[in-house]
Amino acid sequence: MADNANLLITGAASGIGRASALRLAKTHHVIVADRDGDGARTVASEIAAAGGSATAIEVDVSDGASVHEMKTQIDTDIGPVLSAFFAAGIYIRGVTGDIPEADWDRMIDIHVKGTFLCCQAVLPDMIGANTGAIVNMSSDFAVMAVPGAAAYMASKSAIYSLTKSIAIEFAAHNIRINALGPGPIDTPILKSGRTEAEYEKARDTLANSLPIGRLGQPEEVAAVLDFLLSDRSAYMTGQIIHPNGGQLMW
């Protein structure tokens, strides 16, 4: 099913989304969606240069009108979306007492509402085709606890719960919905809000804290995504897979 289907990836301009777009472009037409339109166009060009086919779209997943506009454009220019990876995300550090309400809202809107809106946008295509696969980006932090990440953890737990809920709701339509729960991956999100020195310190501390002794690469998450979107995982739905170097085992 999944091969050759149009694959929509949000947050596809950088990090895990970008690595996933590049890998999956070998088997899919990839719709490279991101709030950063220029970044999305760059990734689409990289795919084209490598002989794949891709379409770049600018979208704000936390805005229903923007998601609707994206889907309308896809309907007009491309066709049904039977495969999707919703990876748009942000990270804002801060202890709970200091989190501004606006930061909380932004985190929840982009992660939870954004995933909900995007799932709602593509499910009708999948129901119509009686097949489909969605993977939502959660995190190890959906399950394990760390200090200073209340909003992020709450939002990633919500994505996992949402995933399980709709997995059961749409299983009868032969649609599978799973989540990825990566551990520390060497992506731009790790650098955000940090100086180069702070980033290197954080990277090395994290690497040493992991059983495997190194951070993951975005390509290693993309490989797990490939499995979850393909028929190799035809009997898996509502699950979360953790490419996390052994950070969390449960």
């Binding site: 059983p211 002794g213 290693e220 490989a223 995982s233 509502g238 052994g246």
Partner: protein, 238 residues
Amino acid sequence: METMIVTGAGSGIGHALTRRLLAENYHVSAWDTDPGDLAGTNDDNLDFCEIDVRDANAMAAAVAQAEEKTGKIAGLATCAAIYRATPFLELTEDDWDAHLSVNLKGTMLSCQAVLPTMLEQKSGSIVLFSSSIARRGAPQSAAYAATKGGVLGLGRAIALDHARVGIRANIVSPGITDTPQPRGNLTEDDMYGRAKNIPLGRIGQPQDMVETALFLLSDDASFVTGQDLRVNGGAGLF
């Protein structure tokens, strides 16, 4: 060519995995007490070893033989297990010991048999088969449930002990699967009837478990260790 070792290779998921690994051009050292569905199979890449997973010496010898043949043990999948449904108060000590020794100690001993070679190689991937019964329980399955819960802990401990040297260990937890095992305790109608409580509307096929094991054995899972992949059609999500 590289070797994959499969325990419980004579039937069910172990048998399906063995066939698939042969098709993927691996040398397979296939272990079971009985060749079962592998009987009569002529394939230069298949070495069937009549092995009881409680026999550490026999497993060490089979590993040495495989190492001599290909020079590399790429992976191990532990599928050997027994399952006899018994009401809890009728569960005899002998039956308890039989389940524990094959399903849990046998899994531990098979891992011990391959790990020295994997440590020398600084590579290797181990896939341990647990069961959805480990987390969810099942009627009249106390001994089996205890062993499969034990496999979850065993798999994580092995993953932690060897993560830094490039060896990964993961777990597959199948839901009810179309193999001889459930047929020991269920009629055909009851077995297939379980599909009505499974969101994806069918019971598992050996192929579903094979694909998951292949993924975990492969480099696609290079950052995945200590994980439990629940291949169950969406039954009992938590």
